[in-house]
C-alpha cells in the first residue's frame, strides 16, 4: 500500500464517505462507473476490482471479457454536488487484464503509454482545452433542441439562470481541483464556454471527463439539458474543443525560443507534424457523424490544413503571448470537438507533433488571408488541403495511417475503425428531412 492509497483510506474514514465511484471510459470516451463501499477499497487498491468488460464499447473480446479496475489514488476527489451527509467520492481507474497486464482497450493507458514515450525524449505534454457546450430545455431527441435564451419570451430570466448555472459549475470544478481560466456565453444561442487552465495531458483528459459529467449533472439538477454534441443546431456555430498545447523540458518551455522571442525550431516542427498528419487524426479528434457538420466553411471551425499567428480560420493558431511570459508560448489546435475521447485525441495530437520534431518536418508558410474566402482553385494554387469532409473520409485516411495505428495500438485502432464504419453505414441508410423537403415535391 502506498502513502497515497493510505491517504485515501484515511480520508474515506474521516470524511464519512459511503460510496466510492470507480470511473473509466469506453473507447469512445463515454464515462463508465461502478461503486464500491469503503470495506472493498483496500482490496481494490491491492488486487483491483473484477468486472465483465464485454458490455463496454471497445472492451469486448469474448474470450477474455473479465478485466480488473485499479483505482488511481492520485485522482481521489469527493463529489461536491452530492449531498454532504452521504459523501461520495470518485477515482479514475486503470484497466488491467486478469494477468496483470495493461488492458489494450483502456484509452487512459494509451495516453499514459504515449506520455511516457514523450517523457523518454525529455518532454512533458501540457494541454488546455476550451470546452464549448449548449444548454437546452430538454434532451428529447425527437425534435429540434430548444435553446434557453433565444426566441423565448422569458429570455432575461433564463439567460440569468444559464449564467448562474455556469457559475455554479465553475465553483464545483474548482472545488474538485480543476482550475478554470475563463468562461463566457458563446456566440450561439444558449452556447457556453469554459476554458481550463493547463495541466499535464493525463490529468487534463481526466478533467475533461469530469467536466462533461459535472456540466450535465448540474444542468439536470436545474431541470435543463447540457450537451457536448458538436453541432446540435443547424446554421449556428457548433461546439469545438480548441486545445492549447505546449511541451516542457523541466522548467523550460520547449516551444519558446529565448533568442528570437518567437517559436522555437521544435515548435515549428511540431506544428508541421500536426499539419502533415491532421487528416489522419481527424477521425479521432472528431469522431461523430455530426462532428463534420461543424467543420464547414463559413463558420469559425477550421476546414483547411493551415497555420497562422493570428488567423482564426487556420487549423493551427499561434496565440500572441505577453512579453516575458515565455512559459505561455503555446499552439492551439482548432479541429477537435468536445465529443471526442480526450485520452485518444491528446495521444494522436501529441504524436503527430512529435513525429514532426523527430523527422524534422519543414513548416509551410503561414496562411495570410482568410481561408474561408478563397475559391477552390485559389486553394489548389496555394496547395491548401482540406480536412476530411465526413466521418467516412476521415476513417478512410485514418486506416492508412501507421502513426495512428501505432499511437492507439492494434486493439483500439481496429475496434475504432469497425465501430465507426458501422455508425457511418447506419447514418448513410437514413432518409433525412432535408431529402424529403428537397426531393419529394420535385421527383
Amino acid at each position: 500500500m502506498t502513502r497515497e492509497q493510505e491517504y485515501v483510506l484515511r480520508t474515506v474514514e474521516e470524511r464519512g464517505v459511503r460510496l466510492i465511484r470507480l470511473w473509466f471510459t469506453d473507447v469512445t470516451g463515454r464515462p463508465k462507473s461502478f461503486a464500491i463501499t469503503p470495506v472493498e477499497l483496500e482490496t481494490a487498491f491491492e488486487e483491483g476490482m473484477h468486472f465483465d468488460g464485454s458490455s463496454i464499447d471497445g472492451f469486448s473480446r469474448v474470450q477474455e471479457s473479465d478485466v480488473l479496475a485499479l483505482p488511481d489514488a492520485s485522482t481521489f476527489e469527493l463529489l461536491p454536488w452530492l449531498s454532504s451527509d452521504e459523501n461520495s467520492a470518485r477515482m479514475f481507474c486503470d484497466i488491467e487484464t486478469v494477468g496483470g497486464e495493461p488492458f489494450a482497450g483502456d484509452s487512459r493507458h494509451v495516453l499514459r503509454r504515449n506520455l511516457r514515450a514523450a517523457h523518454e525524449l525529455g518532454y512533458t505534454f501540457m494541454c488546455a482545452p476550451e470546452m464549448e457546450f449548449f444548454y437546452f430545455a430538454d434532451g428529447r431527441p425527437d425534435r429540434v433542441p430548444e435553446p434557453l435564451d433565444s426566441g423565448s419570451y422569458f429570455e432575461l430570466t433564463t439567460a440569468d439562470m444559464a449564467n448562474d448555472l455556469r457559475r455554479r459549475t465553475i465553483q464545483t470544478l474548482e472545488t474538485m481541483g480543476i482550475p478554470v481560466e475563463y468562461s463566457f456565453h458563446e456566440d450561439s444561442p444558449s452556447q457556453h464556454e469554459i476554458d481550463l487552465r493547463y495541466t499535464n495531458a493525463l490529468e487534463m483528459a481526466d478533467n475533461i471527463v469530469t467536466l462533461r459529467l459535472v456540466v450535465k449533472e448540474l444542468a439536470q439538477e436545474r431541470g435543463v439539458y447540457a450537451t457536448f454534441m458538436p453541432q446540435p443546431l443547424a446554421g449556428v456555430q457548433g461546439s469545438g474543443m480548441h486545445t492549447h498545447m505546449s511541451l516542457f523540458d523541466g522548467e523550460r518551455n520547449v516551444f519558446h525560443d529565448p533568442e528570437t522571442g518567437d517559436l522555437s525550431s521544435e515548435a515549428r516542427c511540431f506544428i508541421a507534424g500536426l499539419l502533415v498528419h491532421s487528416r489522419e487524426i481527424t477521425a479521432v479528434t472528431n469522431q461523430l457523424v455530426n462532428s463534420y457538420k461543424r467543420l464547414i466553411v463559413g463558420t469559425e471551425a477550421p476546414t483547411s490544413v493551415s497555420w497562422a499567428h493570428n488567423n482564426r480560420s487556420a487549423l493551427v493558431r499561434v496565440p500572441v503571448t505577453k512579453q516575458g511570459k515565455q512559459s505561455s508560448t503555446r499552439i492551439e489546435y482548432r479541429a477537435p470537438d468536445p465529443a471526442c475521447n480526450p485520452y485518444l485525441a491528446f495521444s494522436v495530437m501529441l504524436n503527430a507533433g512529435l513525429r514532426g520534431i523527430e523527422k524534422n518536418y519543414e513548416l509551410p508558410v503561414e496562411a495570410a488571408e482568410n481561408l474561408f474566402e478563397l475559391s477552390d482553385s485559389e486553394r489548389r494554387d496555394l496547395d491548401i488541403v482540406s480536412l476530411p469532409q465526413s466521418l467516412a473520409e476521415a476513417l478512410e485516411v485514418m486506416e492508412t495511417s501507421e502513426l495512428v495505428a501505432e499511437t492507439l495500438g492494434d486493439h483500439i485502432f481496429e475496434w475504432f475503425l469497425k465501430n465507426k464504419r458501422t455508425e457511418w453505414n447506419a447514418y448513410k441508410a437514413q432518409v433525412t428531412p432535408f431529402e424529403l423537403a428537397q426531393y419529394l415535391p420535385n421527383w
Partner: protein, 222 residues
C-alpha cells in the same frame, strides 16, 4: 532536529519533510552550537555512510558532553556494521542505508516517544487554515478542505514554512522527490489547484514570487 552532514542526503531530506519533522543540516561541531535552537535540539540524525570518520567525530562531540543530544539515530551502510562495536554510547538506534522512508519515520517516532520528547507537531496552523498531520485532514475556518494527497503534502510543506520563498525546483524535490515525472511545471499546476480549492478569499495565501517561485503567507518584511 539536527542532521549531519550539510547538505543532507536528498532522500533523507525528503523523508523528513514527508514525515513532517522540522530539521536543520549542520556541517560541523561549531555549527551544532551556533545553530542550536532555543530549547535545544530535539534529536539528531547522523549519516556515517559517506564520511564515517567525520560523522563519528561529530557524534562523539555531541554525546560526550554535559548536555548530550538525544536521541541520536545513526545511518550506516551494511558494510559498516562492525563499526558499531565499542561505539554503543554514541547512538540510540541505527539504521542501514539505503533506507525505507517509512522505516525512518517509525524509528524516529519510537525514539522520540522513548526519550519522552513526544513526537512531531500534530497540527499545523496558519490563520484559519488547520492541518491535522495525524489523520491527514485539512480545514479552513472549520470547513473541511478536500485535497488530493499531493495537494495536501504541498500545503503541509508550505504551511509549515510560512513566509519563506521556495523555488519550483526546491518544492519539486522536497515535496515530490527528485525523479518526479511531471517536471517543474507540476508545481504550478498544483499551486493553481490548491488556490482553486482554497477559494477566492484565501487563494492569496499562496503567493507567486515573480521569477522565483512561491511563498506561503505574508513576507517577513511586509
Amino acid at each position: 532536529m539536527l542532521v549531519f552532514p550539510d547538505p543532507a542526503p536528498p532522500e533523507l531530506a525528503q523523508a523528513l519533510d514527508m514525515a513532517g519533522y522540522g530539521w536543520q543540516p549542520v556541517p560541523d561541531e561549531a555549527t551544532v552550537r551556533s545553530a542550536e535552537p532555543r530549547g535545544g535540539w530535539s534529536g539528531a540524525i547522523v549519516c556515517a555512510d559517506v564520511e564515517p570518520e567525520r560523522a563519528y567525530a561529530l557524534a562523539r562531540a555531541i554525546r560526550r558532553t554535559e548536555q548530550p543530544v538525544t536521541p541520536l539515530l545513526l545511518l550506516i551502510s551494511g558494510a559498516q556494521l562492525s563499526d558499531l562495536e565499542l561505539r554503543e554510547d554514541l547512538f540510540d538506534d541505527f539504521m542501514l542505508t539505503p533506507f525505507h522512508p517509512r522505516e525512518l519515520e517509525a524509528r524516529l517516532k519510537h525514539l522520540l516517544w522513548r526519550s519522552g520528547k513526544g513526537s512531531r507537531p500534530e497540527i499545523v496552523e496558519y490563520e484559519g487554515l488547520r492541518l491535522n498531520l495525524e489523520n491527514y485532514q485539512a480545514s479552513m475556518n472549520g470547513t473541511p478542505l478536500d485535497l488530493t494527497y499531493m495537494e495536501y503534502e504541498l500545503l503541509k510543506f508550505l504551511a509549515a514554512n510560512p513566509a519563506k520563498v521556495f523555488t519550483r525546483e526546491t518544492l519539486l524535490s522536497r515535496v515530490w522527490g527528485y525523479e518526479y515525472y511531471g517536471g517543474a511545471r507540476t508545481v504550478d499546476v498544483h499551486v493553481r489547484r490548491l488556490r482553486a480549492k482554497l477559494g477566492e478569499e484565501h487563494a492569496g495565501l499562496i503567493q507567486t514570487v515573480r521569477s522565483v517561485g512561491y511563498r506561503f503567507g505574508q513576507s517577513r518584511w511586509s
